[in-house]
Symmetry: C4
Amino acid sequence: MAIRKSKKENELGFGSKTSSQRSRLINKDGSFNVDRIELSSWSSTSMYHSLIRMRWAKFNAIVFVYFISINLLFACLYYFSDIEGLKGMEAVTERDKFLEAFFFSSQTLSTVGFGRLSPGSNMISTIATIESLVGLLGFALATGLLYARFSRPLARILYSKNAIIAPFRDGKAFQFRIANKMSNSQITEMNCRVTVAKLEEENGVLIRRFRPLELEIPNILFFPMTWTINHPIDENSPLFGMSSEDMAKADVEFLISLNGFDDTFSQNVSTRYSYTHEELVYGAKWISVFSTNEQGQTSQDLRKISDYQAAKLE
Amino acid sequence: MAIRKSKKENELGFGSKTSSQRSRLINKDGSFNVDRIELSSWSSTSMYHSLIRMRWAKFNAIVFVYFISINLLFACLYYFSDIEGLKGMEAVTERDKFLEAFFFSSQTLSTVGFGRLSPGSNMISTIATIESLVGLLGFALATGLLYARFSRPLARILYSKNAIIAPFRDGKAFQFRIANKMSNSQITEMNCRVTVAKLEEENGVLIRRFRPLELEIPNILFFPMTWTINHPIDENSPLFGMSSEDMAKADVEFLISLNGFDDTFSQNVSTRYSYTHEELVYGAKWISVFSTNEQGQTSQDLRKISDYQAAKLE
Amino acid sequence: MAIRKSKKENELGFGSKTSSQRSRLINKDGSFNVDRIELSSWSSTSMYHSLIRMRWAKFNAIVFVYFISINLLFACLYYFSDIEGLKGMEAVTERDKFLEAFFFSSQTLSTVGFGRLSPGSNMISTIATIESLVGLLGFALATGLLYARFSRPLARILYSKNAIIAPFRDGKAFQFRIANKMSNSQITEMNCRVTVAKLEEENGVLIRRFRPLELEIPNILFFPMTWTINHPIDENSPLFGMSSEDMAKADVEFLISLNGFDDTFSQNVSTRYSYTHEELVYGAKWISVFSTNEQGQTSQDLRKISDYQAAKLE
Amino acid sequence: MAIRKSKKENELGFGSKTSSQRSRLINKDGSFNVDRIELSSWSSTSMYHSLIRMRWAKFNAIVFVYFISINLLFACLYYFSDIEGLKGMEAVTERDKFLEAFFFSSQTLSTVGFGRLSPGSNMISTIATIESLVGLLGFALATGLLYARFSRPLARILYSKNAIIAPFRDGKAFQFRIANKMSNSQITEMNCRVTVAKLEEENGVLIRRFRPLELEIPNILFFPMTWTINHPIDENSPLFGMSSEDMAKADVEFLISLNGFDDTFSQNVSTRYSYTHEELVYGAKWISVFSTNEQGQTSQDLRKISDYQAAKLE
């Protein structure tokens, strides 16, 4: 008995020390809300992973800044080593000479190599040789990064803004809705697991326990539309008998793990999400996502995925 | 009981609202026939996925148009900002000057950089620097797109044009045939699941139910030839006792999900297909795909994959 | 009973028609020995797969020939459209002019673009623009091809040249040996399945049946050394009581399917192999692959993987 | 019984001959400590795998040396075939001419092609054509190598320096700690298997046996923090009743196999590790990795992952 409890408690990997924490465990982007003191502040692999996971705006900005910085660095090398060895230069002022060095650098790094400016001394030739290698490898890196970024399944699942406690059969159920954001890329064989994290009093101490919630339908073969994940709150449910206030007091958080098979890239994908008790609406039911147009055609409207209406619970 | 029914009904992910729909659920290319109102009309990832899934002719056309458009855009930038700063230009008329700007742009974007035309002013140099970066990233994207396109398993399985109801042992069976289109790339450990979607009357209402069909052989280790998928219609079958007219009335659709392991790219692959009742031939048997040549050698002829002949059902 | 027999017979996917075939079912490179009449003789994806699977010598030759051919094609375009528009040309004779066109083409296709030769007319500029796009896409293709070629697990498993029937405990066993060819790349969680294909007389007709062989150890966690796959021939074995002549008469072929997890590319890999009865040595035992050097260190010698010695069977 | 023993002994794939070996079986980097005499000393795929697995410093050095070597090779070709055919050369001395040939080579290999130096004879043009192809393919290779290097899970798991025998409930337990080194890249659905290799006396002979250790929690869904892998030493444990001296005498080695799902690259990952009896601390307990700062915030400190203190065992 003690062993099984301990198993349920730990199987998520959060450990017992998190019981004192009163902020959410899983962030909205699926990362874990954990404070860590790292071993070392930097590693190339870690940087690569960051570049894959960050937003496009930030990624593009970093690529641009990096491209300019490398060019500036090599412009300085050309300028301070042997600027007169840069053949074809027409600049007279120092400022213009540096600009020429910068543009020569960019033509070398990108391997365009127009040739109006060209290396005319061994020093400049040597630096240009190195810069072209740096350019090629940097571009090889960019190719891998772009491929990895696009083949990631991040942010393809649309979750309803709230989870709800809805009337269900003779009782209640915990529910949330998801949809596939992309109409042109299928996810199949989806599987969902939901765990509730809640504070429980044991021998007078509040301890955060992790309890799995049994789902009415834990996996579906196709995922063409929306899917309402449904946990009926029966006597076996860890939510059984809990009022809205009980849930707030127990600081409940619903941890969601979704797996599926991405049809476009032929790989398994996995995402995480969570709802805290602040995001839980007690006593509600979903508004249908289906709408019928004038021609009588039925379509589903993804903009309605989070829409619910109040519903009385027995 | 009610729960198990509901499970069977929903496990495909189509939900109950589709019961009113009388068109097919799964299109011939494996996509789902669902009307959706999207959240937003555009996202970079969604576009990337479209570029991976579209036909080659369309893909090539888009790449070409995109290449020309980017060149036109930068040609305009060069032309309207500082066309006299483009060194080496020999054009006299405005039309020819614009053409020179266009060709200079294409030489910069592709990083060819012949150098007859070269940036001769800071403005032109700056634009060219940016264009070469755009060119490199665009090419990095193209590399990823081509790799992803070729490593997709799309359209590698050849399905017989029709499914048939064939005589089988003392009764009948639902059958269709598949073949591996590519002789030089193996798919192994194939697994097939077939579900029939049919309208059933419950309390006077027609509801679309999804019933799994048990297959005689649901998976095979190797897939060197054709494979006839066979569902014997015995008393446990949801098709038991249904005549051709019953099937039409119930608007049956056979939903097929195939999984396997792609030997060339070492990844799992998954495809979908469906047969509607219009594509079902009631009372037929397959004509063998094997043929023997003059030397007595046996070979299979993929062109016969859809060939059947009428057969009397008991 | 009839159903289970049929299952065992078909689960490999070879079907029943192969019973008439007296050549091997699986070739030494893991491909299937099946004659096929294809639907169409060509598809881009099929060509891509071929390029991934062929030998390096052939691949390199094709890349080289393709590179030269494209250059020749564009050289002709330049030569016959507007050779005088090629600026910087110093050739006088027609032969030299064509050569210049060829070298200009290669400088454009590879995006080197030295610029001694440069497009001097709209016609030449236009063709060069298209050629640079062709070059970029061709190179993008090559990148994907090289990556796919190197990440393939092909030919990484070394099989013993022969399988043997060896004395084992009080009886006999079917055995073969495998090794990981690469010392610097691990395969873990290996799983082996062996099926024997043999002709069996049923109602006076010879039919090829596929019978699984139960292995003493069907999977191993690590694969650091050699692995002797061992099927004890007990009363449940389909080989039980068969003499060397029986096996020849039954035209036995041992079909092997190996799966594992490739540690370097983090993907599942799968290979196939087969031994025919001509490759089976009846009455033999393996010579140890371990050898001890002068310092008393034990090492395994992969060159001995196929070495066996005669052994008397009870 | 005899069969099951044999299975347990062999399921790791190390075989029985390793019983004489008294060095570790698995190295700290997860490779196997096995002496092998290879079939052949070189293969392109094997080299590619090495390039993926080696350290960054070595990899970068090899890329640089390779780039310089290829350039030197082609510089020699240009120099000794027809150096006067290199147009634009300004060098007078032979040494400078060779340097020009070298820089021209680097501009061709990287496809920069400034054009100050350009091929002026058919011989030089032909060599340059080949060099540009070599450059393009070399770069295609580099792209694949960089992608493969970064997508490898190597060295992402941090293991505690020692394993310990700790007091646990009424008895003892074998324990070690792991952490995810990367805060920005999740590993989920982790699974751990531990096997102990120990010398056992059978009929007077010492034979190395491989015994699986049952873990209190063999898998966790999330891995946000540290994970203490715990094997309670009860009467079913192969370590039951063994003193520190017994373990040294039996030359115990704990072989660890970890699997999980890498969230960034959407692929399964697998690592290996081992602790020898010299790395085992008998009688210790872990010091918590959690620390609280002045603001009362709890964070885990990865630098403490290996910290333990002496603890008395019952």
